[in-house]
């Protein structure tokens, strides 16, 4: 099972990214562990500068912008 992390301080862009992840999983009929990281100290362990960040299996896929559903589906299939 894939591990998906959305890092963000709780702004609207971060929420959109999180919802897009859920929607992408639903459309693919896929199960994954989705974690939202909003605590800044926790976030800094990943050395991010811009939010939101989308990580799949500990690899940063998208940072500083909202990942759209089609894009996330691509990441999940590969």
């Amino acid at each position: 099972m894939k591990n998906i992390k959305v890092l963000g301080t709780g702004c609207s862009k971060c929420k959109t990214t999180y919802n897009n992840v859920l929607e992408a999983l639903k459309q693919l009929n896929m199960q994954a562990e989705v974690i939202k990281i909003e605590d800044i100290e926790e976030m800094m362990k990943y050395n991010v500068l811009t939010t939101p960040v989308l990580m799949i299996d500990e690899v940063v896929k998208v940072k500083g912008r909202v990942a759209d559903i089609a894009e996330i589906k691509q990441f999940l299939i590969n």
Partner: protein, 324 residues
Amino acid sequence: MFNWLQYFADWLIYSILGVSAQSHLGESLDFFVFDTIKIAILLFVITTVMGIVNSYFPVEKVRNFLSRNKMYGLEYLFASTFGVITPFCSCSSVPLFIGFVKGGIPLGITFTYLITAPLVNEVAIAIFAGAFGFKVTALYVITGIVLGILGGFILGRMKLESHLSTWVQNIIANAQTEEELEGEKLTLVKRFPTILKEAFNIVKGVGIYIIIGIGIGAAMHGFLPTGFFEHYINKGQWYGVPLAVIMGVPMYSNAAGVIPVVQVLVAKGVPLGTAIAFMMGVVGLSLPEAMLLKKVMNMKLIAIYFSTIAFFMILSGYLFNIIL
């Protein structure tokens, strides 16, 4: 440059819809159509250009550059200029702040970046250009850069490290130059679809505020007489500029919508310097940002940070009122 658009708006409203050019409604509708399309075009073009520049100077590169090079004060200029070209969202301010000090970048330079990044961003530039033309926009951008340099320099001199949260101070103590990043080596052609998509998303994201802002502006444009505000707000009143900056700070979320309204205020008699100071307050300082910064610094430092920047905004407002 936008003459064709004025013809189009006139044709649409006066000929096709048949609203009289002499009526208040006609003037308002014409202004609304013209301004909305003009700002949408500018916004799209400028966000795309900024996106291209930014794809070559991502914020990680900026951080590493500033962290590695000591340039005898020039780094303030670089930090401020980088603040212009990198996109900024107030929710990124805290990770950015930590990321910078963690890379060993002095507090003053970090502040410089943090001041300029929201103050001079692509959305503000585009709407400013649409509302006031390129000369005033250039002046705004340069002022923003100078303000970032001065503000960061002074804050850096104040030795404020002790006002940072304990965990941030620990990070500074262990600061180190960041490792070189594995940059994506993509050609511009490959980057372009993502850049265009991002530009489109930005336009879409602020679109509703702009339309509301232009709507309010258009109504005032058509229905209020020229010079309407001159009576209430003029250059002679010393408190106009400070009041404008203070009023601007809580209005952050609607920055995109505020500028088109202010454009009309200026047309109806509000001094341009006062208006620019107001918009700097709106765009550059925000209460949500202050709340976020509470995680890395104490209230005293936030207050010092905000009042230093507000001071320079007020100063710029007076200056513009004198020279413009």
